[in-house]
């Protein structure tokens, strides 16, 4: 009983603590009369940068997930105002004493509709079971299948079904989710997971209607509006590949009465100038903008908005190859202190990007708005990484590094590996110049295609490489387990037994505050060892036409939530 109470308390604390960076947006420019927006009544046109795949269990991009959450309901969702977990397809849920079994009560009366808006069936617990089985089906080769491996036996089944040598036989029926009846879904977890609801919120876990899937066939499913069916606030009526997707209000959605918007046109652009002109000309209602465009809007008194997706940017460093100078810790420290992060932001990005105070970004704290605040407080109120360059410390560490390496400043050999783009190249050039100025290092720059640079990164064949990480769920684990020895995203060769132990401890620690302290320790270790040099947190600027007055949200884990957008009269 005590355990059960504790689990509930934990959930409550976590929910309350995720008060986040939230607040659904109110348009700062509403009523100004500058950009009234598109003319189509009840509709908005919104930029969406990637929408290549609409088969829910094969999606991988945050903007694809954005459309996903408008046309399907997962068990739970993030609220558009508070960014907290809220009921969606599941109207309620309970957990067992040990926190390993979750029972979801599926909302009755939800309908599947097709691309013509006709009802074709009821949403039931079976649709989740079917969808998750597709996610785990090796033939589908779903990149995000790992979200379904939180269930008991799921990884074992995946390995067995994939034909991994020596994997014991496990059947799909043995995997820990089942429909007890049409409206009861029972999930058994492999391990204790305090943020389990964040997993079932994830968009690849959306339901799929089996009769419809079988009718269109696995090959065709999700390749056009007609080969999908929908259970969310909107349904898709048109999809021109790499150009636009049209979604229309679903009158059969359970909360349709609170949806004012009739239609959303999701438009993809490859040319930043074109979308800027389109916005100015009243052909778009929401676009992302560059630093220069932002300055132009501000100059005429039109306020841009800023979106924090929780993306943290940093430099990967190969630390496990002694033949590389960068494997020297003091050299990495010297470099980190030499960087003037604010100057980099002002020169390269010209926006609200912020020098990283900690590695993790966009994550809520237990008793604070953000986890990062706790990290900074634990560091005596100072950010872990300097905003401006600290030349004195940089030179001090540099002297140590030179001594350890037995080299002179001129002999230091480091290269920035950069993937091709004007901005990336400028970013490297500014960093190169700062190192030259403060440390007298002549760093080189190597420009590669994005695919080649990723391959080289994975092979640990580089010195410094700019990378970024966006969190998958609202818990520091999503950022901090990256630097565990065996993590597939740890492309630095970094291995620290103490760090690994802290992460393992955090996986089982039940007390949220103690657990948070473990993550704070992890942050400190990263700052000390610098397998990556954290650089900045990304804030993305966008503008909204005066047509969209209120109720839209762009928050971490929900790049767009436009369901409850209120329009100007």
């Amino acid at each position: 009983m005590k355990n059960r109470l504790f689990a509930w308390l934990l959930c409550l604390v976590m929910l309350l603590s995720v008060s986040a960076v939230a607040a659904a947006a109110t348009n700062p420019n509403a009523g100004l009369g500058y950009y009234p927006g598109t003319s189509e009544k009840g509709a908005i046109s919104v930029e969406c940068s990637t929408m290549s795949v609409m088969n829910p269990f094969l999606q991988t991009y945050s903007t694809e997930f954005s459309i996903n959450r408008h046309i399907w309901d997962c068990l739970v969702k993030l609220d558009s105002v508070t960014n907290q977990i809220a009921p969606a397809a599941a109207e309620s849920w309970t957990t067992s004493e040990d926190g390993l079994t979750w029972t979801f009560k599926i909302r009755e009366g939800m309908k599947w509709v097709n691309s013509k808006g006709e009802v074709i069936g009821d949403v039931t617990a079976h649709d989740f079971v079917f969808a998750w089985r597709q996610l785990l089906n090796p033939e589908n080769a779903a990149e995000y299948y790992a979200f379904a491996t939180v269930f008991k036996n799921a990884q074992a089944y995946y390995d067995y079904a994939s034909g991994v040598e020596g994997a014991p036989e496990v059947m799909i029926e043995d995997v820990g989710f089942r429909a007890e009846d049409d409206y009861t879904l029972v999930c058994e977890l492999e391990n204790y997971l305090p943020y389990f609801l964040q997993y079932v919120k994830f968009e690849v876990m959306a339901p799929v209607y089996e009769p419809f899937y079988n009718e269109v066939g696995a090959d065709k499913f999700g390749t056009s509006p007609d080969t999908l069916c929908y259970s969310g606030a909107f349904y898709m009526t048109e999809w021109v590949l790499e150009n636009r997707i049209t979604t229309v209000k679903n009158p059969y959605w359970w909360d349709a009465e609170n949806v004012e918007l009739e239609k959303i046109n999701w438009v993809k652009y490859t040319d930043t100038n074109a979308k800027y002109n389109a916005f100015l000309g009243g052909e778009m209602d929401l676009i992302d903008i560059t630093g220069d465009q932002r300055a132009m809007f501000e100059a005429e008194g039109y306020a841009p908005s800023s979106y924090q997706g929780g993306y943290s940017f940093y430099l990967y460093c190969v630390v496990d190859d002694p033949s590389r100078d960068i494997s020297n810790k003091n050299l990495r420290k010297a470099i980190s202190y030499a960087f003037d992060r604010q100057q980099i932001i002002d020169t390269v990005f010209k926006n609200d990007n912020k020098p990283s105070p900690s590695f993790a970004f966009g994550i809520a704290g237990v008793n604070t708005e953000t986890f990062s605040e706790v990290v900074v407080a634990a560091n005596g109120g100072e950010p872990l990484y300097p905003v401006n360059s600290n030349e004195e410390l940089a030179k001090e560490y540099f002297a140590k590094a030179l001594e350890e390496l037995g080299k002179t400043a001129e002999e230091i050999d480091i290269t920035f590996m950069t993937s091709e783009s004007t901005q990336n190249e400028l970013y490297s050039q500014v960093m190169q110049e700062q190192l030259r100025r403060v440390l007298g290092i002549e760093a080189k720059i190597e420009v590669l295609t994005i695919t080649e640079s990723r391959a080289r990164r994975n092979a640990h064949d580089y010195d410094l490489f700019a990378g970024g990480w966006g969190p998958d769920y609202n818990d520091p684990m999503t950022d901090l387990d990256l630097w565990q020895t065996d993590n597939g995203n740890n492309h630095t060769g970094y291995s620290n037994a103490e760090y690994d132990a802290l992460i393992e401890q955090a996986r089982v620690e039940l007390d949220p505050v103690a657990r948070e302290q473990l993550f704070v320790e992890c942050e400190k270790i990263i700052a000390e060892d610098l397998p990556v040099i954290p650089m900045y947190w990304r804030y993305e600027d966008f503008v909204v036409s005066e047509k969209m007055v209120d109720g839209y949200a762009r928050l971490p884990f929900q790049a767009y939530n436009l369901i409850y957008t209120k329009l100007a009269d």
Partner: protein, 311 residues
């Protein structure tokens, strides 16, 4: 004639075969891996993805399978879009071709007219005007022209008139085709008009024109029946490759005007290492180019009976 066509078709198939083979092996030499993204994928999942697209087999087996599928008209499934390459190409080619045909009609009619008038009225204001237009068309890159058109006609003119005559971007209505067709056609127009002017000047100095004049033929008849028909040959020559490239879309114009054409896939498929899509675009473009050149060669015979195709 028939023998010539068959011979050319055989050459065309051989050319395509060599092209596909070269591209197939060259793209496999590109560094990187289509499945390596920003987030890590477990080795098991990676193996499943490779198996899904047949990339787990030896390259030579993949090549043979690919060739076999090509023969059956199956270009495979795109890695990026998880759908049929043939479907993507046919959908987007229709858009590119629609725009391209508009641009070509505009370029050819106006280009020939401008070139011919410039030659006939050589040294006049007409001549200077035509050549000025041609100069602009040749020297202003399409991405600058496109942006200028959007700004001047899409934005500023709309402000002045209060109505939306020239939509800035998008595809689907007639109005939306105006600016991109103009921007796409202008450089071809310039080429056509300059070629036309030169060749027209040349023809106008020929003896047979003098003969025609001395026969007492009217100016119109001379120009239409003798001058134009002879002068148009160089234009026809450049039309083959021009049509192929304009019809298959251009990355720049399509991205500036946000048009869902084929052009972007030539660029993005290589960037994404989407092997099937790279192969598909190359086969399609190669095939179209060969076809257009063949058509042009055949056209010679009709326009100028002196050209003997059999030789």
């Amino acid at each position: 004639m028939l023998r010539y066509v068959i011979k050319r078709l055989v050459y065309a198939i051989l050319t395509l075969f060599v092209l596909i083979t070269l591209v197939f092996f060259m793209m496999r030499m590109l560094p990187g891996d289509p499945f390596i993204g920003d987030k890590a994928i477990s080795p098991t999942a990676m193996a499943n993805m490779n198996a899904k697209y047949g990339l787990d087999k030896p390259v030579i087996v993949q090549y043979l399978m690919y060739m076999g599928n090509c023969l059956r008209g199956d270009l495979g499934v795109s890695i990026t879009y998880n759908r049929d390459v043939m479907g993507i190409i046919s959908e987007s080619f229709l858009v590119s071709a629609d725009l391209g045909i508009r641009a070509i009609i505009f370029a050819v009619i106006v280009g020939i007219l401008l070139g011919a008038v410039a030659a006939i009225k050589r040294g006049s204001a007409w001549d200077s005007f035509s050549m000025f237009v041609a100069m602009i068309g040749v020297s202003v890159p399409s991405f600058i022209l496109g942006a200028l058109l959007q700004y001047a006609l899409g934005l500023q003119l709309r402000k002045v008139l209060g109505i939306n005559l020239f939509p800035i971007q998008g595809w689907g209505t007639f109005k939306q085709t105006l600016l991109p067709a103009f921007a796409l056609g202008l450089s071809s127009l310039a080429t056509v008009s300059r070629l036309m002017r030169t060749s027209m000047l040349d023809v106008l100095n020929q003896d047979y024109i003098k003969t025609a004049k001395s026969k007492g033929l009217s100016q119109g008849k001379i120009l239409w029946r003798h001058a134009l028909r002879n002068a148009i040959m160089p234009v026809v020559t450049v039309m083959g490759p021009t049509v192929a490239s304009v019809l298959t879309g251009t990355f720049v114009i399509e991205s500036i005007f946000n048009i869902p054409g084929l052009g972007k896939y030539f660029v993005t498929s290589i960037k994404d290492l989407d092997y099937t899509m790279i192969g598909g675009t190359v086969v399609f473009y190669g095939g179209l180019l060969i076809l257009c050149t063949l058509v042009v060669d055949l056209l010679y015979g009709f326009i100028d009976p002196r050209v003997k195709l059999e030789e």
